[in-house]
């Protein structure tokens, strides 16, 4: 049995980096789909070409959410990119609203 300290914990923030291969593995998604997501602007990796691409931590959540939206709501990748951007915006606004309402 594993002790708690054998566990690998990743903080998926802006500073975390995935290579293309790591992102594919983590999301159980083929590289072609990830490349399509980059072409659609849903993901914005640093680096010039797929081999040098580095994705930030939140990219994994964007991939997972886009796949669920595609599967459940028949949203295409362009639509999913739009939904994700709007969800980010809503989250920011909700946080601001909560701050102002508490005041």
């Amino acid at each position: 049995m594993k002790t708690p300290y054998d566990m690998i914990i990743d903080i998926l923030d802006e500073e975390f980096e995935f290579t293309l291969g790591e992102l594919c593995r983590a999301s159980a998604t083929p590289a072609e789909t990830i490349i399509e997501m980059v072409e659609e602007g849903l993901l914005e990796p640093r680096g010039p070409s797929p081999l040098q691409w580095r994705f930030s931590g939140p990219a994994l959540y964007r991939v997972q959410t886009a796949l669920r939206l595609q599967r459940d709501l028949h949203v295409n990748l362009a639509g999913a990119a739009l939904v994700l951007d709007l969800l980010d915006e809503i989250a920011r606004l909700r946080e601001r609203l909560a701050r102002l309402e508490q005041g």
Partner: protein, 317 residues
């Protein structure tokens, strides 16, 4: 077992056309999709919708379901009569929903046997290696935990297959290190702590989404903190140095003379730590003491005499 009125779930009449059912489903699915919806019961509602649609979109299943008619109420205790599905052939149906195994007992008792089950099993026979499912959970932390970093102990219920082949629920406790400077909405991945893999595949991962417990006086926005600071009228008018709490300890804050309620003063770098640390914003709130003695009342009257002031002049009154 409770009867489920699938028409009620989708909000359509019993004589709705297939197109109407599809439109109702699509609309509600958008509303209750757990990634999009903020409704507290979104996940449960979304599953229920999927189940209702699974039955009503398929004319064969719908016809079979329809024989229960309107005599049954949603939530009523229900047992299907033996042989209720005689004369119906479900071979072509199958499950199309990805979460079919999570449908209710009600669904399972009606459509879980015979042709349905074969169709469902067939699509899910695992002869390949597959990574286990990922699990998702929320973790609530205090602002102080995010400021200093902490270790949280997390208790999870994990289904496991024992030696006799039975599924048992085991409780597992994990120690999770929360790094300092973490903010709301950030995700933490615990590798290999999701569902076990299939056919020798590796286990899935566990994702924790960070959220803050409400704080008695700080409000948090990203890495910045907001604090309402009560001040006296004379502190605001004459200026003063007052003590202000920050998560890192008490600091002195200089209030400039002539300050008004709502004035925002910034304590740079006193918010949540990080490469670029957040700031603490102190919002002044003037509180007026109630005059309790004659002397105090006279003091206010004297102020009114010698300090003519109309705070409503901008309102034209």
């Amino acid at each position: 077992m409770k009867f489920k009125d699938y028409y009620e779930v989708l909000g359509v009449p019993r004589d709705a056309t297939q197109d109407e059912i599809k439109r109702a489903y699509r609309k509600l699915a958008r509303k209750y999709h757990p990634d999009v919806s903020k409704e507290p019961d979104a996940e449960a509602r979304f599953k229920e919708l999927g189940e209702a649609y699974e039955v009503l979109k398929d004319p064969e299943k719908r016809a079979a379901y329809d024989q229960f008619g309107q005599n049954w109420q949603h939530g009523q205790d229900f047992t299907p009569p033996p042989g209720w599905d005689a004369g119906f052939e479900f071979s072509g149906g199958g499950f199309t929903g990805a979460e079919a195994e999570q449908f209710s007992d009600f669904f399972e008792s009606l459509f879980g046997g015979g042709g349905f089950h074969r169709a469902a099993g067939g699509g899910r026979r695992h002869t390949w290696k597959q990574k286990g499912e990922d699990h998702h959970a929320k973790i609530l932390i205090d602002l102080e935990d995010a400021y200093h970093g902490t270790e949280k102990s997390l208790t999870l219920k994990v289904p496991e297959v024992d030696e006799t082949g039975h599924v048992v629920t085991r409780t597992k406790t994990l120690q999770v290190k929360i790094p300092k400077g973490i903010t709301r909405g950030k995700r933490i991945r615990l590798r290999g702590q999701g569902a076990p893999g299939i056919g020798g595949g590796e286990p899935g991962d566990l994702y924790l989404e960070v959220d803050f417990k409400p704080h008695p006086f700080y409000r948090i926005e990203g890495k910045d903190l907001y604090l309402d600071l009560p001040v006296t009228p004379w502190e605001a008018a004459l200026g003063a140095t007052v003590k202000v709490p920050t998560p890192g300890g008490i600091v002195d804050l200089k209030i400039p003379p002539g300050s008004q309620t709502g004035r925002k003063l910034r304590l740079k770098g006193r918010g949540l730590p990080g490469k670029t640390p957040g700031d603490e914003y102190v919002v002044l709130k003037i509180e007026t003491p109630e005059p309790k003695t004659d002397e105090q009342r006279q003091l206010y009257e004297r102020m009114a005499e010698i300090m003519p002031f109309n705070p409503r002049s901008r309102l034209g009154v």
